[in-house]
């Protein structure tokens, strides 16, 4: 399903990724771990084609993701550290715009239901500029539920969340597994990585090592 081959990336001559290669089958969840600055976010951003790799290839469902054809990214969704939303828009406006960029339609009621589930319904018409980090993180979860991608690239899903939020992320990952969808999750918690990941990939010194989660 996803195949990453020989990805190299350096910043100002500092080599971050040195020939990263791995593959992922449908329904697999990869927990990507590593210390700060080892290139976890960089790798996700390269796969999502937000960042340019120095060399290497990424294919998703046999299609070259690094090519100019945007449609190849159709069933993939990247969620980074920031929410990727517009601060002057309300949650509902942001979510509607997100769905339009992916040619998806969703009724307003369904969006409201999801916002309610994540405890954001009281802020439905407020610009997200006033949201706390935790609320923005929950809004990312709503985005994921609405897009429901085949491959989710999620950078630090548990960041800034309260206890309820952590439970919601747990449920979301469980849903992904149940639906036989795939995800690459950047995690720092070994327990969570073992619990949800089919494989744990560790990034260190620009190289990746793989081990079974069980």
């Amino acid at each position: 399903m996803l195949s990453v081959k020989n990805i190299y990336k350096s910043f100002n001559r500092l080599s971050i990724l040195k020939g990263i290669s791995f593959s992922q089958n449908k329904g697999e969840i990869i927990a990507l771990m590593g210390k700060n600055g080892t290139g976890k976010s960089t790798l996700l951003r390269i796969i999502a084609r937000i960042m340019k790799a120095d060399s290497g290839t990424v294919t998703f469902n046999e299609k070259d993701l690094l090519s100019a054809n945007s449609k190849y990214r159709n069933n993939m969704f990247y969620v980074g550290h920031e929410p990727g939303l517009y601060s002057f828009f309300s949650p509902i406006e942001n979510l509607k715009f997100l769905l339009k960029t992916r040619d998806l339609s969703s009724k307003e009621n369904s969006i409201e239901d999801k916002l309610d589930r994540y405890g954001l319904i009281d802020f439905i018409d407020k610009p997200i500029a006033v949201f706390s980090k935790g609320m923005l993180q929950k809004l990312k979860l709503v985005q994921i539920e609405l897009v429901n991608p085949d491959l989710l690239l999620f950078d630090e899903p548990y960041s800034s969340l309260d206890e309820d939020g952590v439970v919601l992320v747990d449920q979301l990952i469980a849903d992904i597994k149940m639906q036989n969808k795939s995800a690459i999750l950047v995690l720092h918690d070994e327990y969570k990585a073992k619990k949800y990941g089919d494989f744990i990939f560790k990034l260190a010194s620009g190289k990746i090592s793989k081990k079974n989660a069980t």
């Binding site: 951003r45 937000i50 340019k52 550290h81 517009y86």
Partner: protein
């Protein structure tokens, strides 16, 4: 999709009012400085006025385009946009068209104080002045958005934007000054058509370049 992207640009501006308002205030401030500091005869002022008009536009375009891309950097919305399965050329087109709307709106407001405060006569053929200005605006916005797309990922985008943009905009500003001067002085079209052709070439060249290259230049 293009329509949705343009709607998004216009709605953000409708909410924030930051682009047009900042361009307006800056434009009016420049006009006031010109008006209060110029101590020359009306003939000399009149001959310099097209240059002053486009110099003012040069500065306000930097301000407007920078703001338009600053929205995208906030909360990293641009990453969501470029990772979405949409033709990135359409992102450029939406920025180009919305930028054109913003600069034209600003010009339509500042044009009256520009001529009034500098004690200049309103051009006899005001409609032609506005139409030619709109064509020039298309060229300015094509260049400005292409350059902004290149520098958006840089930490020094505020510095890089004018540094890269001013040299690229210079030929256009020269042509714009020649055209506006000819329109104000009611010269026949044969005298200034070459400048119009230059502007049209710039619009086509940078418009196509922006559409085709945006896919590659917006990646980090």
């Amino acid at each position: 999709m293009l329509l949705n992207l343009i709607k998004k640009e216009l709605l953000i501006e409708f909410r924030s009012k930051q682009i047009i308002l900042s361009m307006l205030i800056f434009g009016l401030a420049i006009i006031l400085i010109f008006a209060l500091s110029s101590n020359v005869s009306s003939e000399i002022l009149s001959s310099y006025s097209p240059g002053m008009f486009w110099l003012m536009n040069l500065f306000i375009v930097v301000l407007g385009v920078h703001r338009s891309f600053a929205y995208e950097k906030e909360f990293d919305a641009f990453s969501l946009l470029v990772s979405a399965p949409i033709n990135r050329g359409q992102i450029f087109l939406s920025k180009w068209i919305s930028g054109f709307i913003f600069i034209t709106t600003t010009q339509l407001i500042v044009i009256v104080p520009f001529f009034n405060l500098l004690l200049l006569d309103i051009p006899e053929n005001l409609l032609l002045f506005i139409l030619t200005s709109m064509l020039i605006n298309l060229g300015m916005m094509a260049i400005a958005n292409l350059v902004s797309g290149i520098v958006i990922r840089s930490n020094f985008s505020e510095i890089l934007l004018p540094l890269l943009m001013f040299p690229l905009l210079s030929p256009l500003i020269i042509a714009a000054t020649k055209i506006s001067s000819a329109v104000i002085n009611a010269h026949s079209y044969e005298v200034w058509n070459v400048w119009v052709l230059i502007v049209v070439s710039i619009v086509v060249l940078f418009g196509l370049a922006g559409y085709a290259l945006f896919d590659f230049i917006v990646e980090e």
